[in-house]
């Protein structure tokens, strides 16, 4: 039962253009969402997050949008840079302190110079 889904296993984007990564979830109890970036042979690193009380959060080139009614979130990267090439995971949790993070299957983003 995949509660967090990333339906695009891979995405290629020209350098300088916008990258849009999508994530869907099924559990209505999730109320905090995170994006992680992972390079090969390294652990994931936290990128940006959003609480369910918001519909947008921005941090530099990265913006996360949340559509609660559709149970959908997206990560926008503008402008895309070669160093953004990595696997991106979305994750979700219930905001009760000890709750685990549930991850999606990941999207491999390749930025074409």
């Amino acid at each position: 039962d995949q509660q967090v889904k990333q339906n695009s296993p891979s995405l290629s984007v020209q350098e300088g253009r916008i990258s849009i990564l999508n994530c869907d979830y099924t559990n209505s109890m999730f109320d905090y969402f995170l994006w992680y970036k992972k390079y090969p042979a390294e652990g994931p690193t936290f990128l940006i997050s959003i609480s369910s009380i918001k519909d947008k959060n921005e941090d530099g080139r990265f913006t996360v949008f949340l559509n609660k009614s559709a149970k959908h979130l997206s990560l926008h990267i503008v402008p895309s840079q070669p160093g953004d090439s990595a696997v991106y995971f979305c994750a979700a949790k219930r905001n009760f302190g000890n709750e685990k993070l549930t991850f999606g299957t990941g999207t491999r983003l390749t930025i074409i110079p």
Binding site: V4, Y32, L34, G43, K93
Partner: protein, 114 residues
């Protein structure tokens, strides 16, 4: 600076061996987690611990056990390694409370069982 350290980057073990993967965090976090990453399957939770000597099964606990004798250390044990446990293993830690939402990951251990 936040740090989660896994004892090995790469390990090769034989089928049937008992394998220990160690993880240490220096952030005084209550919660620690073990995930495995496999292509097409994302990160799947094996076990987590929310306090010393406390543990809970994650989504795929079969074939694994854990130990948390000290707050900073969380060990994953493969009782009898099998080839289907070849994977990237990732340890993470997170604090407790509304201000603690992101988890910090170690660098990962690539385990190959032959």
């Amino acid at each position: 600076d936040v740090k989660v350290t896994q004892s090995s980057r790469y390990l090769v073990k034989r089928t049937g061996e008992k394998v220990f993967l160690e993880c240490v965090q220096d952030m005084d976090h209550e919660n620690m987690f073990w995930y495995r990453q496999d292509p097409g399957l994302g990160l799947r939770l094996i076990y987590f611990s929310y306090d010393v000597k406390m543990k809970e099964k994650g989504d795929i606990p079969e074939g694994y056990s854990v130990s948390r004798e000290k707050k900073e250390r969380f060990s994953l044990i493969l009782e009898s390694a099998s080839t289907n446990q070849t994977s990237m293993y990732l340890c993470a830690s997170r604090g407790t409370g509304l201000g603690y939402t992101e988890a910090f990951f170690g660098q990962g251990t690539r385990l190959t069982v032959v």
